[in-house]
């Protein structure tokens, strides 16, 4: 059974992508309730993601607000992948103008395959920079609707 705490933890917004929750991103590995104690296991997205500590305190605050005592642990295994992002998370990213990731590469990175524009859905797009405003995003340009847009890198 999914506990209310589980739902509250998964509903915490990502600090750098406020359109999606950490549940949408697949960062919540487990939530265990023992009496009034809530043990939350999260997995970081990028190893150097600067939002990790913010997420920890946001999750702690959500658990405390529900009257439980939080202990938040970051686990590295199994490793996070953009394949962990839920379908709902992908839909929210697209609605926010960020192209969701394709399947994660298990070999040489093939970024050249054109990403669909989140505004007009055209594949007539090109990569302008593999590195964007946050570690998880790349920059693209749509040649159909002439809009620049971001994509979530498949990793």
């Amino acid at each position: 059974m999914v506990s209310i705490i589980d739902l509250l933890v998964r509903a915490v917004d990502d600090p750098e992508l406020p359109h999606v929750t950490i549940g949408d991103l697949g960062m919540v590995r487990s939530v265990e309730i023992d009496g009034r104690a809530a043990h939350v296991r999260l997995t970081p997205t990028y190893t150097g993601c600067p939002a990790t500590e913010q997420i920890r305190s946001d999750v702690e605050a959500a658990v405390v607000a529900a009257g439980y005592e939080p202990s938040v642990e970051f686990v590295m295994s199994p490793p996070w992948s953009t394949d962990d992002i839920t379908d709902e998370g992908r839909a929210k990213l697209t609605a926010a103008g960020i192209a969701p990731p394709g399947a994660a590469a298990d070999g040489p990175v093939a970024l050249d395959f054109p990403v669909a524009c989140p505004h007009c859905n055209s594949r007539r797009t090109h990569l302008t920079s593999a590195f964007g405003a946050t570690a998880c995003k790349a920059l693209h340009m749509c040649e159909a609707c002439r809009q620049p847009f971001e994509s979530f890198k498949a990793i």
Partner: protein
């Protein structure tokens, strides 16, 4: 004396942290805005990898040292990074050559560490290997454009390769870690795979591989060039001026 796992982890963490800082030095100096962001992103990925390794080094050491201790409160002689990452950035071509030499080695390293018998390192490797693929794609793309670009960019790329090449050998691991390899804690040597991969990039960039094998070493034992201490002075200044500060 054979190196223990703590020494191995510190060598990797120091390599990654020092390179992360060198890349951060490019901020606001890169040739274009997108490159500022790219180098900062790569620097941040590396910093994250180093933090995980330092935290694990503290657990292995068992003296209660945290990541900040290893990064900010050790002197140059305590660092075990390969000499190549502490060398000055030079021009953009020199930096990109170093990234190519480093990223090919880093990818082979992390790929081999995915099957380490050490669960902590294997888990970190599984994350880092994907990040490193993006770094390698960026650095090889630049070196090919520079080498196969104008006469001036070709000249600078070749000069960068000639400058960095003597330091490249230490990227291939240490000779005193065979016990760790035998125990499956770290992967087998990847010298051959690295030479083939670097050679392919150099050929595609229309550059000439220096004929001599790399000669400079000592960083893995703490015997550094004159460039590390001034770099650490900048990197460690704030933490040492205000020990334990938080904000």
């Amino acid at each position: 004396m054979p190196a223990d796992l703590l020494t191995h982890v510190l060598r990797q963490a120091d390599r990654i942290l020092v390179l992360s800082h060198r890349l951060a030095e490019w901020l606001t100096h890169a040739p274009e805005l997108e490159e500022d962001m790219a180098l900062a992103n790569i620097s941040l990925d590396l910093l994250g990898q180093a933090r995980h390794l330092y935290t694990y080094a503290g657990e292995l050491e068992g003296l209660g040292h945290d990541e900040d201790y290893f990064a900010y409160f050790r002197d140059a002689a305590d660092f075990r990074n390969p000499l190549i990452v502490e060398q000055p950035n030079g021009d953009f071509a020199v930096t990109m050559v170093r990234q190519v030499l480093h990223d090919h080695a880093a990818l082979l390293y992390w790929e081999s560490m995915c099957s380490s018998t050490d669960q902590t390192l294997a888990a970190l490797a599984a994350r880092a290997v994907n990040e490193t693929r993006f770094h390698l794609r960026h650095s090889t793309g630049w070196l090919i454009r520079l080498g196969d670009g104008t006469d001036e960019s070709h000249r600078r790329a070749q000069a960068g390769l000639d400058t960095m090449w003597p330091f490249a050998g230490e990227l291939l691991g240490a000779d005193d870690e065979d016990d760790l390899r035998a125990a499956g804690l770290i992967g087998p040597r990847f010298d051959g795979g690295w030479r083939a991969a670097v050679g392919a990039t150099v050929v595609e960039a229309t550059l000439t591989m220096p004929p001599e094998p790399p000669t400079r070493s000592g960083g893995l034992e703490g015997d550094h060039s004159e460039h590390l201490a001034p770099m650490l002075e900048v990197m460690q200044d704030l933490a040492r001026a205000h020990p334990g500060a938080t904000w």
